[in-house]
């Protein structure tokens, strides 16, 4: 099958971006929005065609010996560093990239449609659609990357799109600082990514994914056992690359940007900070999975970070009061699940089910988390606030939204038959297979997930019935409800996709079967947590407040996200700005510049010092003359004779 048409999924959005960016202000808002959405629709169709043909096509060469082939649809040289180190721009079709094509285009299209309603009347509407196109372009470019440097390029581009979209309301200081924070934190992580690439390419002399992953042993061996600070350089390289992924995927301790990123428009949060960009880290590790699994140490780091993040984010999510914050921490926690799943995956454990589970969860999570965010957007749209305290009893006003949100919550909590159940089950299976510690840990976090999601749900839709005054909340317009309905349906059915057949680490088919032991346990936990949440939050009561009071310290710490932001604030302002930048600036002005000024001053004062030589008296002049001649002679005599 000829896949070269796939290139259109990149071209259409970038053209759209340039078009809307340059002449957008001349168009009416409606035209711009519709144009952008239509373009996205076409992109989506093409992406679906490509992905579905890839998965289900029966052409010769797509599957050889049961292994799905990686297809390099195109690969053009973009920049040659050396003979082998070449940045190419291309499209690599393989199971995960095909899957990502679907995820990205689906969510993006939904967000495009949704935004027609949500962003209606906003200043800079055209700009918004331009940025959405840019983001879609970058994200698609990222997932289809044929080499790690292409990925890095698009990695940076999604970073900047994210920056631009978070800072969309650029007159609000909070949005500006959130966007800045997001960019800088991820940039810091990208530094690790870049260094990782440098090290990796230095030893393996290639950027190409296919070359790297088809023979991972050779890649590792190319370092020749070189070590740096006691660890093998390959472990360094892979860990640093993972650092890039961790930054993008908001892993602890690089997660701090994500909650703040909620300052952006809610559809943007749904698209970028829930469904697509934030899973780039997971995708990155998955992309290099064959190499990663040869470095045990790095895998352990990944697992530990994933687990810590999962627990941390879940804990914080339990006490947040801003609905988007809750969803943000929930996102962090869920991505940590995926990361952990990759970390615990080993080819020999259940045929590497962790890998598949991670990708599966990525897929389902994208759908239900986008759903949740879009619902949250509809709610915010209706209530004009992010705070839970301003909400309550909304089920009466917004029935569609209520159901959609409930479906999302059930999906994320892992209740059969919703999508989350299947993917989370596989993750837990993988975790238990690696070590019960991780398994139990993740089960607990899964329980917490169910709890805070239902806390959120009840707080919004039940709890109390505040006085909404003269603007009663009402159901969102059709453009906004349609995506909710669509995504709800997907969240319900996505679990039944035979993922094991499609996406596995070695691209061979994998027979999955529900491990009822694990699944049962986790379902019980989830249901328990939901019941707990129901008891606590269904109706307004004082129990939750009392509970919070009983452990006020912990509660406050969790509410303040365990002071991570303060820590960063301290490091950036007190250490980097106050202890490095300012002293350097001072040093530059006073010492370095001062030295040159001093040279000038010394010359000047020397000029004053010598003026006495010319005292104006003839006899003085003669003295100097005579002394000069005599000294000249005397010194010469002493030196020579």
């Amino acid at each position: 099958m000829e896949f070269s048409y796939t290139v259109a999924v990149l071209i259409i959005p970038i053209v759209m971006f340039l078009f809307l960016g340059i002449v957008g202000v001349k168009l009416s808002k409606k035209t711009a929005g519709v144009l952008g959405t239509c373009a996205m629709g076409v992109t989506t169709l093409i992406a679906y065609a490509a992905a579905l043909t890839y998965f289900f096509g029966t052409e010769q060469g797509q599957i050889v010996d049961g292994v799905r082939q990686q297809l390099e649809v195109m690969n053009i040289t973009w920049l040659e560093f050396t003979e082998n180190l070449v940045i190419k721009l291309g499209i690599l079709l393989d199971p995960i990239s095909a899957m990502m094509l679907i995820v990205i285009t689906t969510v993006s299209l939904m967000v495009h449609i949704y935004s027609l309603g949500y962003m209606d009347g906003e200043k800079g509407f055209q700009r918004y659609y331009a940025f959405l196109s840019l983001f879609t372009f970058s994200m698609l470019g990222l997932v289809v990357a044929t080499n790690i440097f292409q990925m890095y390029i698009f990695w940076e581009l999604v970073g900047v799109s994210s920056y631009l979209l978070i800072g969309f309301y650029y007159t609000l200081p909070a949005a500006v600082s959130a966007s800045k924070k997001a960019f800088i934190v991820t940039r810091f992580a990208d530094l690790g990514f870049l260094l990782g690439i440098l090290i990796l390419s230095f030893y393996t002399d290639t950027f190409d994914f296919v070359t790297l992953t088809s023979n991972p042993g050779a890649a590792i061996a190319s370092a020749g056992g070189a070590t740096f600070m006691g660890c093998s350089v390959m472990a360094w390289a892979l860990t640093l690359i993972f650092m890039g992924g961790a930054g993008k995927s908001a892993m602890f301790p690089l997660h701090i940007w994500l909650p703040d990123a909620m300052e952006g428009p809610t559809p943007v949060s749904a698209l970028i900070h829930a469904a697509t960009m934030v899973v780039a880290g997971v995708y990155l590790v998955a992309r290099l999975f064959p190499v990663y699994c040869l470095e045990e140490g790095t895998m352990t780091i990944i697992t530990v970070i994933g687990c810590v993040t999962a627990l941390y984010a879940a804990a914080v999510a339990c006490v947040q009061s801003d609905i988007k914050r809750v969803l943000a921490f929930s996102t962090i926690s869920q991505i940590a699940f995926m990361i952990t799943s990759l970390g615990v995956a080993r080819p020999e454990l259940h045929e590497g089910v962790g890998y598949m589970a991670s990708m599966f969860h990525l897929f389902t999570h994208a759908m239900f988390k986008a759903l949740l965010f879009l619902c949250a957007g509809a709610i915010i749209h209706a209530v004009h606030s992010n705070e839970m305290s301003k909400m309550g009893g909304l089920r009466k006003y917004m029935p569609i939204c209520n159901i959609a949100f409930l479906i999302g919550c059930l999906a994320i909590s892992g209740i059969w038959p919703f999508a989350g159940f299947f993917s989370k089950d596989e993750i837990l299976v993988a975790a238990y297979a690696n070590s019960p510690v991780w398994g139990i840990w993740l089960s607990v976090v899964a329980g917490m997930t169910a709890f805070y999601m239902f806390r959120l749900y009840y707080k919004i839709f039940w709890w109390n019935n505040p006085d909404y005054g003269h603007h009663t909340p009402h159901e969102a317009p059709m453009t906004m409800t349609f995506p909710l309905i669509f995504l709800s349906l997907v969240s319900i059915v996505a679990g039944f996709i035979p993922f094991g057949d499609l996406v596995t680490w070695n691209r061979e088919g994998l027979t999955t079967h529900i491990n009822w032991g694990v699944a049962g346990t986790s379902t019980v936990i989830a249901v328990g947590a939901i019941i707990l949440a129901t008891l606590l939050y269904r109706k307004e009561n004082a129990v939750p407040e009392k509970m919070a009071d009983s452990c006020r310290g912990l509660w406050t710490a969790a509410y303040k996200r365990f002071y991570m932001d303060e820590l960063y604030q301290f490091i950036t302002h007190k250490i980097i700005f106050a202890c490095i930048s300012r002293p350097i600036a001072w040093f530059d002005r006073r010492i370095i510049d001062g030295t040159f000024d001093m040279l000038a001053n010394v010359t000047n004062s020397a000029s004053y010092a010598v003026r006495k030589l010319q005292g104006g008296s003839i006899q003085g002049y003669v003295w100097v003359y005579l002394a000069g001649a005599a000294l000249l002679a005397a010194i010469a005599i002493i030196c020579i004779i």
Partner: protein
């Protein structure tokens, strides 16, 4: 015949402009002459690129093309020797672009527009002359020709503490060129083996490769530092912040955009090319210094509050990267260095142009006193954001390809020391992001700080033209880097083979 060489016109056109300006009577005529000249230079540059590429495509593999030589000072074997390779070609194109944009950026210069453009032309003459020469004397002459107009351009048309800044800039740069002159004469006297004909021609000197090692040991630092001062090498960079802060818009553009490139280009073309042995031996010292520049400039920029200071320190950082890469002595890094020169030239010119335009409206450059300008002047705001993104290395704009070439190239070095320094230099990309976003956040975003700013207008047509020219150039390099890097690496490769 001298007129049959296309290169000489790069000097003749600015000189004709100079004459035309001297004769022109009104501001309109001055502008007309300036625009005509700048356009002619652009066309010439385009013609040169096409000719150059077609000659290369036809299989001409000589190190320099369009070479010609006319005896000038016969006793010292000084020739007016011209020639370009890929590196000079791209530098010429860069200069043409910036001169073009500079003319439009200084459209409303006041007072004395005629004199202003005359100095401007003299400066351009020096710059182009430097890039087309392959004779050390001629190069040096043009180098100084390019430096001295800065004094008056800053002194007369500048702002702030301009007397001090102009004097400091001139003296420090001339200080550098003092060392340089000694180095060049030293090279001249060792340019040929015992008894051979001494020469100033770079190609011949390189071919002779006769400079004794013990002399290289002294001459290399002299020439490198001499050019390095102009390349804002730590610790000789302090002219840059003050100078740029005081200079008028187009002068900052030209200075940061082109003049500072003379430093990097000279370091490469003279210090490294002619004294490969010493370059290999002594590179580590300068690598340390330039490595420091890279990080140091970036950190300093983080806490500045004056827009031009921020940019000046950012230039220290970026230009440090150029020298850093040159010293890595391999083709990839060298290609990156030249790309970085291109990229830095364009984006800093863009920055300074925009800063000048903003300053012309708000009459302040203190970022604490401005804010929310994006709503007031969206065009300038968007331009600034693009410049900022280019500066912090966004793919698709020029900064990225340059920096990546440098990092990848530098990291290919077999020596651990070099790789550790590379890692250090890489850190600058984060710090760059910090200060760029800090400025963008404070300057363009947020609420409008000063009510008076609300009445300000967006860019006028000539400002738009200048900005768009530069943005297009930045994006062109960023999107199609292989074209540029191909030209450059082709030129750099034979030279870097000396170090293999």
């Amino acid at each position: 015949m001298i007129w049959s060489n296309v290169l000489i016109y790069f000097v003749i056109v600015p000189l004709l402009m100079l004459g035309g300006l001297a004769l022109s009577k009104s501001v309109k005529q001055v502008r007309a002459v300036a625009v005509t000249g700048a356009t002619a230079l652009m066309l010439l540059a385009a013609y040169l690129v096409i000719e150059f590429l077609s000659m290369r495509a036809a299989g001409d593999v000589s190190p320099m093309l369009f070479t010609d030589s006319w005896t000038w000072f016969e006793p010292l074997n000084i020739n007016l020797a011209l020639g370009v390779d890929g590196i000079s070609v791209v530098m010429i194109v860069l200069s043409a672009f910036i001169v073009f944009a500079g003319v439009f950026a200084s459209w409303n210069i006041n007072p004395l527009p005629k004199e202003y453009f005359m100095w401007f032309c003299l400066l351009s003459t020096g710059v182009f002359g430097f890039f087309i020469s392959i004779d050390m004397f001629t190069m040096f002459m043009f180098y100084e020709v390019a430096l001295i107009p800065m004094y008056l351009l800053i002194g007369v048309w500048g702002s702030g503490n301009k007397n001090y800044s102009a004097m400091k800039l001139t003296l420090m740069l001339m200080g550098g060129s003092a060392f340089l002159m000694l180095g060049l004469i030293g090279i001249y006297f060792h340019s040929a083996p015992e008894g051979g004909q001494l020469t100033m021609n770079i190609l011949e000197i390189a071919e002779n490769n006769a400079i004794p090692h013990e002399w290289q040991y002294y001459l290399f630092p002299m020439t490198f530092v001499g050019f390095g001062v102009l390349g804002a090498m730590f610790p000789f960079h302090t002219w840059s912040p003050d100078g740029h802060a005081s200079a008028p818009t187009a002068v900052s553009m030209l200075h940061a955009g082109v003049l500072m490139k003379l430093g990097g280009y000279g370091c490469f073309r003279i210090a490294i090319y002619l004294m490969p042995w010493a370059a290999g031996e002594l590179a580590w010292i300068f690598l340390l210094l330039t490595g420091i520049s890279v990080v140091y400039g970036a950190f300093s920029a983080c806490v500045q509050t004056d827009l031009k200071y921020i940019n000046a320190y950012s230039s220290v950082s970026h230009c440090g990267m150029v020298l850093f890469a040159i010293l890595m002595l391999n083709t990839t890094a060298m290609t990156g260095a030249v790309l970085q020169m291109l990229s830095h030239g364009l984006m800093t010119a863009l920055f300074f142009a925009l800063i000048g335009m903003i300053y012309g409206r708000t009459h302040t450059r203190d970022i604490r006193k401005m804010g929310g300008l994006m709503t007031i002047m969206p065009f300038l705001g968007v331009g600034y954001v693009i410049a900022g993104l280019a500066s912090l290395g966004l793919p698709g704009l020029s900064g990225f390809v340059a920096e990546m070439s440098i990092f990848v190239g530098s990291f290919q070095h077999a020596d651990m020391f070099h790789r550790v320094l590379t890692v250090m230099a890489c850190c600058s990309i984060v710090i760059t992001a910090v200060y760029i976003l800090r400025v963008v956040g404070k300057l363009l975003f947020g609420a409008v700080q000063d009510a008076h700013h609300k009445e300000l207008t967006d860019a006028e047509w000539h400002e738009r033209l200048a900005t768009i020219t530069l943005i297009v150039a930045v994006a062109a390099i960023g999107c199609f880097p292989n074209f540029f890097s191909g030209i450059i690496s082709e030129a750099a490769e034979p030279i870097m083979k000396l170090f293999a």
